[in-house]
Symmetry: D3
Amino acid sequence: MSLAEQKRIGKIAMLYVLDETRQDSVEELGWIHCSGKVGSMESNKIVAAIETAAKKNEVINGSIYRETHALYHAIMEALHGVTRGQVQLGTVLRTVGLRFTVVRGQPYEQPEEGEWIAVALYGTIGAPVKGLEHEAIGLGINHI
Amino acid sequence: MSLAEQKRIGKIAMLYVLDETRQDSVEELGWIHCSGKVGSMESNKIVAAIETAAKKNEVINGSIYRETHALYHAIMEALHGVTRGQVQLGTVLRTVGLRFTVVRGQPYEQPEEGEWIAVALYGTIGAPVKGLEHEAIGLGINHI
Amino acid sequence: MSLAEQKRIGKIAMLYVLDETRQDSVEELGWIHCSGKVGSMESNKIVAAIETAAKKNEVINGSIYRETHALYHAIMEALHGVTRGQVQLGTVLRTVGLRFTVVRGQPYEQPEEGEWIAVALYGTIGAPVKGLEHEAIGLGINHI
Amino acid sequence: MSLAEQKRIGKIAMLYVLDETRQDSVEELGWIHCSGKVGSMESNKIVAAIETAAKKNEVINGSIYRETHALYHAIMEALHGVTRGQVQLGTVLRTVGLRFTVVRGQPYEQPEEGEWIAVALYGTIGAPVKGLEHEAIGLGINHI
Amino acid sequence: MSLAEQKRIGKIAMLYVLDETRQDSVEELGWIHCSGKVGSMESNKIVAAIETAAKKNEVINGSIYRETHALYHAIMEALHGVTRGQVQLGTVLRTVGLRFTVVRGQPYEQPEEGEWIAVALYGTIGAPVKGLEHEAIGLGINHI
Amino acid sequence: MSLAEQKRIGKIAMLYVLDETRQDSVEELGWIHCSGKVGSMESNKIVAAIETAAKKNEVINGSIYRETHALYHAIMEALHGVTRGQVQLGTVLRTVGLRFTVVRGQPYEQPEEGEWIAVALYGTIGAPVKGLEHEAIGLGINHI
C-alpha cells in the first residue's frame, strides 16, 4: 500500500493538464485518459463536460453506477481546489475557463489496490469580464 | 488586465512544486520565491511553516501586515485544494506530507496590476499510517 | 432537561420516514406530524415542499414567523445530511427523490423544555439519470 | 444499475443503528457488519472508533488502502449529517454520544455494481453537560 | 410578523457592541442584556465565554436546554461572520480579540412572535502577533 | 502595523451602513466611499450591485483587476456574515434586503500598510414573504 514513484497518478494528471504534450507519459504507462476544455458560469456544466468526455473516451463505463460515482466525487474534489470555499460560480458572479484531464490507472505497487481515477483542472477564474481573472487549479482522486 | 502567457504565476508555482528543477524558470523571470517541505496532522503547523519560509527568504516582508495578510489568504486557498471540504487534518484523523512553493511576481501585462503571490502545495494526504494515503494538490493566488 | 426514552423525536421522525406505518407511534404520543414526497434538482423546491406540507397540515402556524424560522433551520440541517458538504443539487449536477416527515412534540421530560420540531429525510441522491443514485438521509431538530 | 428494493443498504444500516435487534436482517442478506458506541468531544476519536471496529470485525481489510479510503469517506459523509455545517465538535464546544453501524453489501441488482459500504450514526449532540443535547443522525455511503 | 422599527434587535446589539454607551438604549426597551470581552485562539473558549456571561447575567436560563440551544446557534452564526468560511481559529493559525453583546427582547410588533436573542461580536482577527490583524464582525439571531 | 484608533475602517463602515448620517465621519477622514440598497433572491445580483456602485463612485478603479479582486473577496467575506454557512439565497429559498457601504482608506498607523477596503452589509434575510425575516449583518475587509 505505497504509491509507486513512477506512477503518481495525481502528479501525472496535473502535468498533463498543464502541458498537453505530457499525454505520452500517460500512454507509456498504458493508462486510459482523456482531456478537454470547458468554460462556463454554471458549475453543473463543468461537471457534465468532464463526465461526458470520460464516458465517450471510455475512461469510465457510463452504464456502471459505481464508476460514475467514483468519477463524480473526484470531479467535486477537484472543483474544491478551483473554487476554494463554496463550489459555486455564477451564483457568486464568477466564471471559469478550464482545461481538464481524467486519468485512470494503478498508482500503488500492490496489485490489490486496484484502479484509481484522477481529475485535474487548470485554467482561470474571475469576473465575467475578459481579463478580470487569475489562475485556478484542482485535483481530485478516488478509488474506482 | 490580461495574464501574460509566459508569466502564468500559478502554473509556474505548480510546476516548481512538482519538480524542484523548475526553480530556474522562476529565476529567469527575476521573481522572488521559496520552497520547502512540511508534514503534520496540525493544520496550523502547515500555515506556520509556509509563512516562516516566506519571511525568512524575503518573499514577503514580515513586518508589513498587508503582505502577511495576502500570503495568509493564498495559503488558506491552497489548503482548500488539499483538504477539499473542511480545512482540517488531525481533527478528522488525517495527516499530510507536503512540498510547497511560494512565488511572487507580476503575471499581468499591465504594470498597474502590480505584484501577486502564488502558493502551490503538492504531496500526500491520508490516514496517520504510512502508505494509507493518496496525492493532494492546492493552489492559492492573491494580489500583494 | 433530559430526553424521555419513549419520546425521542428524532428517532421517531426517522423511523416514520423509513416506514410509513410508523405514523401510529407518532399519533399515540398525540404529536402533530405530516409526511410527503418530493423530487427535484432544485434545492429550493425541496424546502418549499416541506414548508408547504407543514403549514397545510398545521404542524406549524404559517402566520407566525418564529415557527417558520424554527422549521426552516430544521430543514436546512436535514439537508446537510442529505447533501454532505454543499447544500446544492442541480448546480452540482445531482438530483434527489425524497420522502420527508415533520414531527412536532415534547421530547424532554421537563415541561419547560416545551415543543421541538424534527424534520427527517430519506431517499436517493445521484446523477439526473434513473438508477445512477444511492440513498441519503438527513435529520434536523430545533426548538419551536 | 438500480437499487434492489430488499437490499437498500442505507435504510438497513439506519434501522440497525436505531434498533440493535435489526442485526438479523443484515445477516439474512449474508452481509458483513459491525456496530459500536463512541462518545467524545474529539471528532478524530469518532473516526478512529469506527475504523477500528470495522477493521477488527473484518468489515474492511485494513491492509488494503482502497478499503480504508472508501470507509473514511463514508464516515466523513455520515459526520456531515451529525454536525450539520462544520465537522467540528470540541472546537465549537459540543460533544456527541453515538452508536454506529457499518454494513458492507451489494445493494444493486446488477452484480457489476459490486460492493458498497454504509456508515450509520445515531445519538445525541450538545453542550458538554448531561441533558443539554438533542438527537443527531448521519448516513454515509460509498462504493468499495 | 413585521420587525418594529424601534426594536431592531440586531442593529441594537451591534451598536451596543461597537459603543458601550449604547447600553442605555437596550435598557430603555426593558430588554435583558450582557456584554464582555474575550480573546483566544481556541474557538471553544469564545463560545464558553459568551455562554457563561449570558447565564450569569440571566439573559438565558442555563437550566433550560431550549434556551442554551437558542443561544448556541446564535453564537455559531455570529462566529460565521467573524471567521468567514471555516469556524476555526488556532487550527488555521489565527486568533481573535472580541467584545460581545447578547440581547434578548421582542423585536416584532406581534406579541405572538415572542422573544428573540441576538449575539453581536466586534474585534480583531489575525496572526498570533500583535498588530497583524484586521477587524471582524458577526451577528447571530434566533428565536428563544 | 497597528490599527489607528480613530481609523477603524470596519467599525466606520458598519456604523455608516447602520446610520446613513455617519457618512460625515468617513468624509472627515478624506476616505472614498459609497453606499446603496439591493434586494434579491439571487446572490450574484448582490455582488453585482455592490461592484457596480463601487466602480461608478470610483471607490475602486474597475479597469485594474487587482482592485476588482480585492473588492470581490471583501464582498464574499461580508456575505458569509449575512448567510452564515452557505453563500446561497434563492437556492435555499430565502431572500435578502440589504443596505451596503464600501469604504476605502488607510486604517493603520504605518503608511506602508497602504489602503484597505471594507464592505459592510445590513438588512433582513428570510423567506420570500414580507415580514418572515430577521436582521443580518456582514463585514469584509481586504488590502487593496
